[in-house]
């Protein structure tokens, strides 16, 4: 291959890659715009009549009450596993007394909201996408529109609001149950001093640690419900489309929860530092 041919091929490959990247970026920007429009309209409709109180409570029951068992089960084992692993690590440093407080810090700030978000996004978010997707392909959403009912207000707004309201409660349940798991392991299996265990937690954990976790859980609730309802609401192409919407909704929600967690943690840290400076 001559130099000119190689250069021509390189140029073509480079142009192709650039075009591909540009197209993907364009699709991404369009999708973000679509989701933002969908979310802003749905949130606006939460505050306009008719109030959908019955639907709201029904979705709160579905997202919240029906997730308690799975959240509790995950929480107790997370707390136990984390306590055990930290004990093994800290024992080498002769700091096993710190296990309780570090578990509490990790659970309240990070693991509680993130794991609750991931579990509920998979369970309730998937169900939301599948339900709305099925309603779309069987023309039930069109039927609502033709009946003079705004489908966004009837189907989407209550689901988003229910998720935002219920996620902090579920996160609280996760925090509480996982601390029970940690306590069980530390006190009953590893025979640590109970007074020291609670005293360290009391010294190390501030109310803001718990509240930032609850706030993040509400944020995750907002994001997964918007993503999953958006996917379900815009489903195309029959049963296969419903499957694809559900899959994409859940996967995107989970990835977004992890990404948002990073930014939210940093922003909360900046906010808390700023507050401290102001209060000084």
């Amino acid at each position: 291959m001559s130099y000119l041919e190689a250069r021509e091929r390189f140029n073509q490959t480079f142009d192709g890659a650039f075009l591909w990247l540009f197209k993907r970026l364009r699709v991404f920007i369009i999708q973000v715009g679509e989701i933002s429009g969908f979310a802003s309209k749905s949130i606006r409709l939460m505050f306009s009549r008719p109030w959908r109180i019955q639907e709201l409570f029904s979705h709160m029951e579905f997202v919240g009450n029906q997730s308690v068992m799975i959240i509790s089960l995950s929480a107790v084992f997370t707390g136990m596993a984390l306590a055990f692993q930290l004990f093994l690590g800290f024992k080498r440093l002769n700091a096993s007394g710190m296990v309780g407080s570090i578990v509490a810090l990790a659970i309240f700030r990070e693991l509680g909201p993130v794991l609750t978000g991931l579990i509920v996004a998979a369970r309730a978010g998937g169900a939301m996408a599948a339900r709305l997707g099925t309603m779309r392909v069987t023309e039930q959403i069109d039927a609502l529109e033709v009946m003079g009912i705004d489908p966004l207000q009837y189907l989407v707004s209550p689901r988003i609001l229910a998720s935002v309201l219920v996620m902090p409660l579920l996160c609280g349940v996760f925090d509480f149950i996982s601390m029970i798991g940690s306590w069980t392991i530390c006190i009953h299996l590893l025979e640590m001093d109970e007074a020291q265990y609670w005293e360290r937690i009391n010294v190390w954990i501030k109310a803001s640690d718990i509240f930032q976790g609850l706030f993040k859980a509400a944020l995750f609730g907002l994001f997964f419900s918007i993503i999953c309802t958006h996917r379900g609401y815009n489903t195309k192409g029959g049963a296969a489309g419903v499957g694809s919407s559900t899959n994409r909704g859940v996967v995107l929600s989970m990835v977004m929860i992890i990404i948002i967690d990073f930014f939210a943690t940093n922003l909360i840290k900046i906010f808390l530092d700023w507050k401290e400076v102001l209060l000084r």
Partner: protein
């Protein structure tokens, strides 16, 4: 002279900016009559229907429904305006977690809040009986119903708010000949029961169109090819209409022969 319920003028619609699904369509649908819209697949029937319902915005043109321009209506106004429509979907589109009675109650609960629940239930039951559904099926959910029962519930739901315009989207597609005839009779009897209601039926079934229609509109390539009575269609010189009529009659004869054969086998 007939009053006009829906007036479509110079309606054009393109989804990709190049091909026009509706290409300067003009159509006037008279009030209080059954108008059947027919045409080959892809001629723009469903797109026209969505425009009449305000589910799609046209690229250009005007649609006046009951003397109100719907292309320029705000979303809030349009949502309210849609209470004047009733629609029977192709597969009924019933809410699958609600029973037959609850499905019919649904629009009443949303839009007739001034009346009490027992009164609503009374109206819903009457609509279901009008649509020919036996009382013993009122508590069934859609997955427990046959295709015919679902159509009846769908029709009862469409009638719940006493609409001025009733729209049937391909009501007989995919049904066997017996059920097709049942649905046709249902459309005709509903129209007789609700005098003054304008009925629009979008269909492929020419034979059914001739049985129930006061007027037939045939679309081709996004334009109105012919509008007239069923007799006008039978005697039309337009080649495409002739082809459609011949095919329709052939298919009906074939289907009747097939039906007879099945019966003799049984």
């Amino acid at each position: 002279m007939n009053e006009i319920a829906i007036n479509v003028s110079e309606l054009r619609k393109t989804f990709d900016g190049k091909d026009f699904v509706l290409n300067g369509l003009n159509l006037s649908i008279p009030k209080g009559k059954i108008t059947v819209i027919i045409g080959f697949s892809g001629t723009g029937k469903s797109v026209l229907l969505k425009h009449i319902l305000g589910l799609l915005k046209p690229t250009s043109g005007s649609i006046k429904v009951l003397n109100e321009e719907i292309t320029t209506m705000t979303m809030e106004h349009l949502t309210k305006f849609r209470q004047r429509y009733g629609m029977l979907f192709q597969y009924a589109a019933l809410f699958d977690d609600l029973t037959a009675l609850e499905n019919v109650l649904f629009p009443l609960r949303e839009h007739r809040r001034e009346i009490s629940l027992p009164q609503m239930v009374e109206i819903a039951k009457r609509r279901l009986l009008d649509a020919g559904l036996d009382e013993k099926h009122f508590g069934k959910i859609p997955s427990e119903m046959s295709g015919g029962m679902r159509k009846r519930v769908g029709l009862a739901r469409a009638l719940a708010l006493d609409p001025e315009i009733l729209i049937y989207d391909e009501p007989t597609t995919g049904l066997d000949p017996v059920l097709t005839e049942m649905v046709d009779n249902l459309i005709a009897s509903t129209h007789n029961l609700k005098k003054g209601t304008t009925s629009i039926v979008v269909s492929h079934d020419l034979y059914a169109a001739f049985r129930i229609a006061d007027n037939v509109a045939m679309l081709d390539a996004g334009k109105l090819l012919l509008f007239g009575t069923p007799e006008d269609f039978l005697h039309s010189d337009i080649e495409l209409v002739k082809r459609f009529v011949t095919k329709g009659v052939h298919r009906k004869v074939e289907s009747q022969a097939h039906e007879k054969l099945e019966m003799s086998r049984e």
